[in-house]
Symmetry: C2
Subunit: 168 residues, 2 copies
């Protein structure tokens, strides 16, 4: 279950108690280069979506809204519409000094769509339509680069990694 909390402690591995917490995780269908279930480095510790992307998904699905908790997202950011396009290696820095490093785009699957469907019983095929509506709007996955406390109202600094002149 996903619920809103006013603050959280980022640790190496993610947020303790979250189902994605861990320095390592088990390979699944997303990593076909490894046998399913083998222990691999966890780059999907924290998922982030943008309010603007969610609004766009809702418009496309012709529903009132899509809440981040329906997608199982850990964080919601506002004011950065292009979040899903954030390059790998980019940093998201919090006032406490905590830092996340972007490990890439989150790929849409049908599970969040099934959750959305539950909230809009009279709309047809939201689960499958979500895959298309969520394309390039599904947010990003991150790893904790530097631990620290984060708060609901934190203003974050986003350092965009330029592939032609990369940050280290």
């Amino acid at each position: 279950m996903t619920r809103r909390i006013p603050e959280a402690a980022l640790e190496f591995g993610g947020i303790k108690g979250d189902r994605h917490f861990g320095i390592t995780s088990k390979a699944d269908s997303r990593q076909p280069m490894y046998p399913r279930g083998t222990e691999i480095l966890n780059r999907r510790q924290i998922t982030i979506v943008s309010e603007e992307d969610l609004a766009q998904i809702a418009r496309e699905l012709e529903i009132e809204k899509v809440l981040p908790e329906w997608l199982g997202a850990n964080l919601l950011v506002k004011g950065y519409p292009e979040l899903t396009k954030l390059t790998l290696g980019s940093r998201i820095l919090f006032p406490s000094g905590a830092g996340l490093i972007c490990m890439g785009e989150n790929m849409p699957c049908t599970l969040p769509g099934e959750e959305i469907q539950k909230h809009y019983e009279h709309h047809a095929k939201l689960a499958t339509r979500f895959v298309k509506a969520g394309y390039k709007r599904r947010g990003i996955v991150c790893a904790v680069e530097r631990p620290g406390i984060i708060h609901e109202t934190d203003e974050v600094q986003i350092l965009v990694n330029d592939y032609s002149n990369p940050m280290q």
Copy 2:
């Protein structure tokens, strides 16, 4: 000191005993977004250079050769000249099942150049000239995604991450 070994065990964190080993490492001048010395996620566990890139650096410096151990590289690959351009999120897979994930380009600094200079006393300014000669030829840094044994003669499979249709 860097010496050649016929095989090595990749563990989460890198190669035990190597100075870059660790799930975390201390931020240095390469990560100006964090205070120097703070513990951050270690994405520079394994450094890899290509034989073709080293040959090109040597040509540019007008010296006979540049050995990977002079640069402190952990691995040398042959037959993949574009190694330094390998995209973030790309995988290097070994016959044992071990896997590395590319965390980006290694940036040249003057230290390896100073090492090269020691081997060619009669050539001028190799340390500073190395920075330019090594630009975009300095190889990549990787994290261990899946542990396993690797051998000197291993043939690796390289899965290139396409940013427009990224691997997870």
